[in-house]
Symmetry: C2
Subunit: 246 residues, 2 copies
């Protein structure tokens, strides 16, 4: 087993792993940001990604539900506030539905999740189960992909606005809010795991967790790519774009 | 909600669903049986399918572990006997390893599961979680894909023996035993769900369960197809066939 790392060394290992395995490197993301997707492909992405958005509060509440430290519970509750909103303010999930509305998707078809790719469902559920079943350290560490999300979101907003005429700022509200939230949350979680991972085995568990989470995100794009790009083999029962999309 | 069906009508619906969605219809299976796979593709299939084999006893034990009927527990225990074997007789899992050995895969690399496609892991875990978390009726119904497996296994054995010179009868021992076991198990489960699904809602749950299970198997082949056939995009960390395979 390796030696105990300093917090800075652990952070460097995590950032290096993200640089190799974060889903910003996936060809589907490059297509999406670069204006190479058909409208049907953008719809398929938004419809499948909705399920990830919808399960995030369950994942976060499950973490809070097994956490004995009130300070950590309070900090983590901000994520529920952000994603579920309140009476006066729509949350991230509601803002995601403005995107799917704006893309012309039927809201019931989206929220019922009946048109999902099965691989989307299985990957997202793997994430939820991971947070429920693994150690609290691993549950916290599983959000660390947020370290890399502000950059991808910024690229996505500018790329999508530039390339698709049906994408307007009002349907991209979700992405407006996310970078500062993700930065706050990721920095908190990073400092927490640097402090709480006190053995080489625990530090390795943090690194393995980030690899697992990168796999979840990568798997979701693989499934979109296989179904809607190459070879374009849509699994039985999943969303089928209209033939005449733009 | 629809009317209560007779047992025979429910069976017809299940068989009709299998005829449309069982993974025997997936292009990867047609390649595998038809002799169009490279050795690396056959290895990737066997290595990934190992994880399914390895989790089957956990799935079955979880079902027994929530079943209050001793007769059903006894019947279901045959599956543990078959897959795990005993001191005098190797089980299905051990026989699967003769296949991966025979294909030249390192046994530790296979059993560690570190080279799996993430989608394989997520799909198989979805199956295990389904059996642990859904009703006992749904847990039992989730094995009903076995209704269709004797035929696919027979096609697979004859196709693989005919087309690949490195496939010999002694490494296909697994498939020798499976058809009569699967037939016995599937017939038992079919009669059980026909008897125990007493409302239209329960009958629909049985049908939905078979669709879910078909999705699990289909998703595993989609992932193999995307990584190793078209477009051949292997996810970071997964098995990479040797370049010079046959």
């Amino acid at each position: 087993m390796s030696e105990l790392m300093t917090g800075a060394e652990l952070e460097e290992r995590l950032r290096e792993l993200g640089a190799r395995r974060y889903h910003s490197l996936h060809p589907f993301h490059r297509m999406l940001h670069g204006g190479e997707c058909s409208k049907g492909q953008v719809q398929a992405w938004a419809l499948n990604r909705y399920y990830y958005q919808a399960m995030i509060p369950l994942k976060d509440a499950s973490l809070i539900g097994r956490c004995e430290d009130p300070a950590l519970r309070r900090e983590w509750r901000k994520r529920l506030d952000d994603q579920d909103g309140d009476d006066s303010r729509p949350g991230g999930l509601e803002r995601w539905l403005r995107l799917t509305d704006g893309l012309g998707l039927d809201r019931e078809a989206v929220t019922s999740t009946r048109l999902l790719l099965p691989a989307t469902r299985f990957a997202v559920q793997a994430y939820v189960h991971f947070v429920r079943e693994r150690s609290l350290l691993e549950a916290v560490a599983s959000c660390l992909t947020e370290l890399f999300s502000p950059q991808i979101i910024t690229e996505r907003m500018s790329g999508m606005l530039a390339h698709y005429d049906y994408i307007t700022p009002d349907i991209l509200l979700y992405f407006d809010k996310r970078p500062p939230q993700a930065e706050r949350d990721a920095n908190f979680a990073l400092e927490w795991v640097k402090r709480e991972a006190r053995t080489p085995e625990q530090q390795q568990a943090v690194i393995d967790t980030l690899a697992f989470k990168c796999d979840v995100l990568w798997c979701m794009l693989d499934a979109l790519h296989h179904a809607y790009v190459t070879p374009g083999l849509i699994p039985p029962g999943a969303f089928v774009p209209e033939a005449a999309d733009g």
